[in-house]
Symmetry: C2
Subunit: 195 residues, 2 copies
DNA sequence: GAAGAGGCTTAGAATAACTGATGCATGAGC
DNA sequence: GCTCATGCATCAGTTATTCTAAGCCTCTTC
């Protein structure tokens, strides 16, 4: 038994675009540019030999084929997401422990202050730690926010540009323990930091 | 609603490897090397934070997590494959019309002779044509086997090395109409040619 | 104990993906 | 009815991922 599977990343772009009814918003969710989403969807359409969206200047609409295709794709993703939740340890319900390296200017960034004082989120606990990715390995920490991406082999990395502070934009690196990256709390954390 | 989705191409490698119980056979199915499958599976395991296979020197075995994860992934792929079959035109049951460009030495290659004489497959019809990808655009042909990959913009390309002939190996390019690439008949054709 | 099969690892090469700029079309605001 | 803002498409260039090829190790078979 083999399957005829279209480009899977194109499916992800398609599903997100259909959910938002916008390439731009889908792109935000997927942390890429609208152009990338556009290209993925186009590649998918080419592979299928069918148009999935009707494009007008300021909006997109599903075609008949797109409307017909979408529910199954969504179902498939739900099945995968559910199985992943069940199989991968993730956080098993506990809060995400975020370390904020001493090199970062917490004071300049409201969201960091709120995370440390637990006012930002009920599922993320921030605290100041020394700048050492080894803290992720021995279980004390789930994610570490720092300024450099050195000695992070095997760890998941997100490049963050934090806004909202008085000093304008502050770039940072969020290093995450394998198995945590991608789960709900991690996605929320990234969204909070980028806000 | 957003999903926690692991690397989707890793899932595909995982499913194929579990089905064959072999990285090598999975690699053949996916038209890559075993190393590539190994890397995909490893990346997936890292993302999940769980081992899916137990590796021994001559075989792989599913771990408990892998055994638990597999059925859902398989279900998801079946859903996608079914929806794709239903939505994408594909061949709609007719035979795949393969053109063999005059530049190719049909005589030297048994499989080509058998395809032209309809003895190789009941769902593929081979015939000799002039070497022009435009034949794919105006509907007369589904795929074209030729020696060069020129002027194939927007078309799907497979690099084939045909064996079995008296003259040893013969490299060729299979150019396929969008919407046909990936469907069963196309996969079978590629497999036949590479055999 | 040599040969062979299967999986792992790695560097480097090939490929795919992403970005950022630009252009176009549409609708909103004045 | 201009002008502006928004959103999608496309392109070239860059970046990042993915793949291959080759070597290594272990176990099995003869």
């Amino acid at each position: 038994m083999t399957y005829r599977l279209p480009p899977l990343n194109g499916l992800r772009a398609f599903e997100a675009a259909a959910r938002h009814m916008s390439f731009k918003h889908a792109a935000d969710e997927l942390c890429v540019t609208a152009g990338a989403v556009s290209q993925h969807v186009k590649a998918l359409e080419t592979a299928l030999g069918a148009k999935l969206f009707r494009r007008s200047a300021r909006a997109i609409a599903l075609t008949t084929e797109g409307r017909q295709y979408l529910p199954s794709i969504r179902t498939a993703f739900e099945v995968i997401a559910k199985a992943t939740e069940a199989t991968a340890p993730g956080l098993r319900g506990r809060k995400l422990r975020l370390g904020i390296a001493r090199g970062l200017d917490e004071a300049a960034c409201p969201v960091l202050r709120r995370l440390v004082s637990r006012k930002e989120s009920t599922e993320i606990v921030g605290s100041r730690v020394k700048d050492d990715p080894a803290l992720l390995a021995d279980g004390g920490l789930d994610a570490l926010l720092r300024t450099s991406d050195e000695s992070c082999a095997g760890l998941h990395i997100d490049r963050i540009v934090m806004g909202g502070g008085d000093t304008g934009w502050m770039p940072a690196i969020l290093v995450t323990r394998p198995g945590i990256a991608g789960c709900r709390q991690h996605r929320n954390l990234v969204k909070l930091l980028r806000a």
